[in-house]
C-alpha cells in the first residue's frame, strides 16, 4: 500500500461521498414512487444538483493531483468511476421526475417496488419506543432489524440521517431493506416488547 497523502485522502473522501449519495438517491427515488411523495422526489433533485457539484470538485481534485505519466491509467479509472456515480444520480433524478410530473400513480409501479426483494417502508416512532432520544448511531437500527434508514420526516421537514441525528417521538422513519425486517422495524418504532430475544441464534 503506497503512502496515502493529503490529496489522495481528499480524492478518496470525495469518491465515497459521490458513491454513497448516488445510491441513497436511487433508494429515495424509488421511495418517492412508492409513497407518491413530491417532497421526496424534490429531495432527490436537490441531491442531484449536489452530486453535479461534488463531481466537478472531484474531477478538479484528480486533475490537479499532479500524477505521473505511468499513473495515468489509475487516474483514468478514478475519473471513470466518478462519471458512473453521476450517471446513477441522473437515473435516480429521472425516476423522481416521473413523480414530479404526476405520472407515478400507476398501480403497476407500486407493485414492482413492493415485490422487489428490497422494499421501502415507513414507521412512526411512538413515545414508548426505545428509539426516542437516541442517536441513530446508538439506535443500531440496521443491526437490530436489517433495515437501513433512508430519511426521517419530522413534521413537514425531511432530515437526512446522520449517525448523530437524535430520534424524536412522532418522527417517521423511511427505511429500506428486506421484507423480513419491516415487522421488526415497526415493532421497534411502536415500542412493543420482545425484540431482543428473537435475534439470538
Amino acid at each position: 500500500m503506497p503512502p496515502i497523502g493529503k490529496t489522495f485522502k481528499k480524492i478518496a473522501d470525495k469518491l465515497v461521498l459521490l458513491k454513497d449519495t448516488s445510491e441513497l438517491m436511487i433508494d429515495l427515488a424509488y421511495s418517492s414512487l412508492l409513497f407518491n411523495s413530491q417532497e421526496l422526489a424534490e429531495e432527490v433533485h436537490v441531491l442531484e444538483e449536489l452530486v453535479d457539484k461534488l463531481h466537478t470538485e472531484f474531477e478538479l481534485l484528480v486533475l490537479s493531483s499532479g500524477f505521473k505519466p505511468e499513473e495515468s491509467k489509475d487516474f483514468l479509472g478514478l475519473i471513470r468511476l466518478g462519471v458512473v456515480t453521476e450517471k446513477i444520480a441522473d437515473a435516480a433524478a429521472e425516476i423522481a421526475g416521473v413523480v414530479l410530473r404526476g405520472l407515478g400513480t400507476h398501480p403497476v409501479l407500486r407493485l414492482v417496488i413492493e415485490e422487489a426483494e428490497e422494499t421501502v417502508t415507513q414507521a412512526r416512532v411512538s413515545e414508548k419506543s426505545l428509539l426516542v432520544r437516541k442517536t441513530l448511531r446508538d439506535a443500531k437500527i440496521p443491526e437490530e432489524t436489517g433495515m437501513w434508514v433512508l430519511a426521517l420526516r419530522r413534521g413537514k421537514n425531511w432530515l437526512r440521517p446522520k449517525p448523530e441525528t437524535v430520534i424524536e417521538a412522532g418522527d417517521a422513519l423511511i427505511a429500506s431493506g428486506y421484507a423480513e425486517g419491516v415487522k421488526d422495524l415497526k415493532r421497534l418504532a411502536s415500542g412493543s416488547p420482545s425484540k431482543q430475544s428473537r435475534l439470538a441464534l
Binding site: I4, A12, G77, V98, E143, L199
Partner: protein, 181 residues
C-alpha cells in the same frame, strides 16, 4: 429490472475492487438481460395502450424502466475498467473502507457454523444486515443466490453491509465467531 440493476452496481464495484474478470463478465451478461427486459417492457406497454389515458399511465412505467436500464449501463461502465485493464488506483480500496455500506469477500472455513445451512434459514439480511451478492464455488459463480442455496466449505462470498455486520460475517465464516450475538 430494479433488482437486477441494483445487483449489478454491487457486482460491478466488487469486480473493480477485487479486480475480477469473471465477475466483470457476469455483470455484462446481466446487462444484456436488462436490455432485453427493457425492450419487452416497452413492447408490452405499447400493446397495452388503447386510449390517451392509458398512454399517460404507462409513460411513467417506461420512464422508470429506462432509468433502471441507465443504472445497469453505469454498472457495465465500471466493469470496462477491469476488462480493458485500466484498473483503479489503490486509493479506491482505501475509499471503500470508508463507505457506509461496504463490500467484502469472505472465505468459508470448515469450522464455520454456517456450513451446511441454507441461506434462507440463516437470515443474514435480517440478523446482521448483510446482503449476499454472489457465491464463488470452485469454478462456478452463483449470482444473487436463492434462499435454498446451502453453504459449503471453501465457498467465497461477495457480500455487502454496514461495517459491524460485515465484521460479524467475517468472524462467522472463518469460524472464530460461533454465534450471531
Amino acid at each position: 429490472m430494479k433488482n437486477l440493476s441494483e445487483l449489478m452496481i454491487d457486482l460491478a464495484y466488487s469486480a473493480a475492487l477485487f479486480n475480477s474478470r469473471v465477475l466483470a463478465e457476469e455483470v455484462l451478461e446481466l446487462e444484456k438481460r436488462v436490455d432485453t427486459l427493457a425492450y419487452l417492457l416497452d413492447m408490452i406497454a405499447m400493446l397495452a395502450v388503447r386510449r390517451a389515458e392509458d398512454a399517460e399511465d404507462l409513460v411513467g412505467i417506461s420512464m422508470v424502466a429506462a432509468a433502471a436500464d441507465k443504472i445497469s449501463d453505469a454498472a457495465a461502465d465500471i466493469t470496462a475498467l477491469v476488462l480493458r485493464g485500466i484498473g483503479v488506483h489503490p486509493i479506491l480500496r482505501e475509499a471503500f473502507k470508508g463507505m457506509e455500506e461496504m463490500l467484502t469477500r469472505v472465505e468459508f472455513k470448515p469450522t464455520s457454523i454456517l456450513i451446511g445451512k441454507k441461506l434462507g434459514e440463516l437470515e443474514l439480511a435480517a440478523r446482521i444486515g448483510v446482503d449476499i451478492i454472489a457465491i464463488h464455488r470452485g469454478e462456478k459463480w452463483i449470482v444473487n443466490p436463492s434462499h435454498d442455496e446451502v453453504m459449503v466449505e471453501n465457498d467465497v462470498l461477495i457480500a455487502r453491509g454496514a461495517s459491524i455486520g460485515v465484521k460479524k460475517l467475517e468472524g462467522l465464516a472463518d469460524g472464530t465467531l460461533k454465534e450471531f450475538e
